[in-house]
């Protein structure tokens, strides 16, 4: 009996630490990666590029939200703050001091992480809905302040002056959207790669533990507040990257849009729809909701704004009723469970 147990222990130790994904999922992943790389040359219209650029940026934003909500269990409704910090950091540095947006990108990430500490230290002690309410109110307050702050353009925002001298240095491409496309693809790929690593790290495990049972996590030596704040910082820095790229893409900062709670809520909807806590759920959510939003805008014009929200609502209702953990959780669970594990 004891030798059986010893054999089983040796067998278990020899198993790979992470189950190999099934072949079909690896094939699907490769096909999606190849399609994304080839896409701009297959679909050549500016709109088709624009659509996928938005999907990629929102996939990054939703993943950022997923780090704090899906991994550490804190529902933030103020993530637009970090999107705005990323957009404003690079833009203000460029407009006022002529500094390249690449440096603005890093400054935005650092400022967002610091803002996450300032917001997170007092608010992450709150459990459940109180943190969500606090971040919603802080987000609205930041928007109101920026709309009255002349140095950053107040309510009329900022325009990024056109510069044709050095497209890659100043991140401005005026003849094609393809460079923007690959920049968004690169940023999103790096973001997802980092989260993939995070989920397999000691820190990622500890986040998932405190998300499920904070008391049990604390009893295992996990400093809850410090871990939550760190997750919030990582999430904020990711969101900021999307903000910088978005600002360079549209070349105009409108605080009404950039800092609106609508952005915070849309990234939430995307993540919940695709699968909160899963790696690819946020991307799937973005891939469903952005086309819905863009096509309803095209088909219905200005009135389409509310129609996409109605469709979002119906989709979220359906997911909550039939698959509360999101569409993708079904597949990820199956993979993690491993084939051949004992019943």
């Amino acid at each position: 009996m004891a030798s059986d147990q010893a054999r089983m222990l040796e067998l278990a130790k020899s198993e790979p630490a992470w189950p190999r994904p099934p072949l079909w999922s690896m094939g699907l992943g490769l096909a999606v990666a190849a399609s994304l790389l080839a896409y701009p040359f297959v679909f050549t219209s500016p709109f088709s590029h624009h659509l996928v650029i938005l999907i990629l940026l929102y996939a990054l934003m939703a993943q950022s939200w997923n780090v704090v909500a899906g991994l550490s269990g804190q529902i933030s409704l103020g993530h637009a703050i970090f999107f705005g910090i990323g957009a404003y950091s690079s833009t203000v540095l460029f407009v006022k001091y002529g500094i390249t947006p690449w440096i603005g990108l890093v400054v935005g990430m650092v400022l967002s992480a610091l803002a996450a500490v300032a917001i997170g230290v007092p608010t992450l002690r709150l459990r459940g809905h109180y943190f969500a309410i606090a971040t919603l109110l802080i987000g609205s307050s930041v928007q109101i302040i920026v709309q009255r702050w002349d140095w950053v353009g107040a309510a009329s925002g900022l325009y990024i002056p056109i510069d044709r001298t050095s497209p890659w240095l100043y991140l401005q491409f005026h003849t094609s959207k393809i460079p923007y496309y690959y920049l968004a693809l690169g940023a999103t790929a790096v973001g997802y790669g980092l989260v993939w690593l995070l989920r397999r790290s000691r820190f990622g495990f500890r986040l998932q533990a405190l998300r499920d049972e904070p008391d049990a996590a604390a009893s295992l030596g996990i400093a809850i507040a410090r871990h939550k704040v760190l997750a919030f910082m990582i999430s904020a820095a990711m969101m900021s990257v999307a903000g910088t790229f978005y600002a360079q893409y549209v070349l105009v900062l409108d605080p009404e849009r950039l800092l609106s709670s609508e952005i915070s809520i849309i990234v939430l909807l995307m993540t919940v729809l695709g699968g909160s806590g899963t790696l690819w759920g946020p991307a799937l959510g973005a891939a469903i909701l952005i086309p819905l939003s863009e096509y309803s805008r095209i088909w219905f014009g200005g009135t389409g704004r509310t129609i996409d929200l109605i469709i979002y609502g119906i989709l979220i209702l359906a997911v909550c009723m039939w698959r509360p953990s999101g569409i993708l959780s079904l597949f990820e669970e199956g993979i993690r469970r491993r084939k051949g594990s004992a019943p």
Binding site: K13, A17, F205, Q208, E213, D215, S219, G221, R336
Partner: protein, 242 residues
């Protein structure tokens, strides 16, 4: 045997109600201390006070001579105090192995070392077969074993177990009792809350009896069992606090 845990005059009040009133006891290294008492006696509150989950109103808790009173739960855990919960708290969205790895990661940052340690803990609690299942798929008895494995993976100096045999079917109890005794034979110091007196008499070296937040007896199992105040408390009489 040297003194490992020293609890002195611990008190916790909720408004006018004393959940724990001036409770004093100690635990020697390598022994099993049992805590008994009817529902509402303050047993789980006492665990919360020792492990930092609730602040004390008065009293001190010393671990190996060092004052840990009022420290944060994660810091107390880091000093080698593991615990399980009466209301089970598995990490439901993690697999059984991943659950236990979280415990092992308290003392190593290597994922490989944590996984090996987790598997060894699972083998010890006889849960290796379920290693790739999600924690939410386990039965109550298996979840108890999982919590134990998770705590043990921290390689604690002392483990506080809240009702290991509570809520599990009768056939599961002997296995859990053997597990606790096996743990003791490996040198782990144990404090266990237990309702089942038969189990307690079998495993405990000493017993602390609580009633209405007060200590009514503390000593060898036979002496505690025959203590009139304990008999009164269990048979529904009104015990005068010691």
């Amino acid at each position: 045997m040297s003194l490992l845990l020293d609890v002195k005059g611990v008190t916790k009040r909720y408004g006018g109600l004393a959940a724990n009133a001036d409770i004093t006891f100690d635990v020697n290294e390598g022994e099993i201390l049992g805590i008994i008492g009817p529902n509402g006696a303050g047993k789980s509150t006492l665990f919360d006070l020792i492990t930092g989950f609730q602040p004390l109103d008065a009293g001190r808790v010393l671990l190996d001579g060092h004052d840990i009173t009022g420290r944060r739960p994660d810091i107390i855990a880091g000093l080698g105090v593991a615990r399980t919960f009466q209301k089970l708290k598995p990490f439901t969205d993690l697999t059984v192995t991943e659950n236990v790895m979280v415990g092992a990661l308290a003392r190593t940052s290597s994922m490989k070392a944590a996984r090996d340690a987790a598997l060894e803990s699972l083998a010890f609690v006889d849960l290796l077969e379920k290693r790739n299942h999600f924690a939410r798929e386990l039965s109550t008895g298996q979840r108890k074993r999982l919590e134990l494995a998770r705590g043990l993976a921290m390689r604690p100096r002392i483990i506080l177990m809240d009702e290991v045999t509570g809520g599990v079917d009768q056939r599961t109890i002997p296995g859990l009792v053997d597990l606790v005794l096996d743990l003791k034979s490996r040198g782990v110091t144990i404090v266990t809350i237990e309702h089942n007196m038969q189990v307690m008499m079998r495993i405990a070296d000493r017993i602390l009896a609580l009633y209405a937040g007060r200590r009514i007896a503390f000593g060898r199992p036979e002496a505690v069992r025959s203590d009139p105040k304990v008999v009164d408390a269990y048979l529904g009489g009104t015990a005068d606090a010691a």
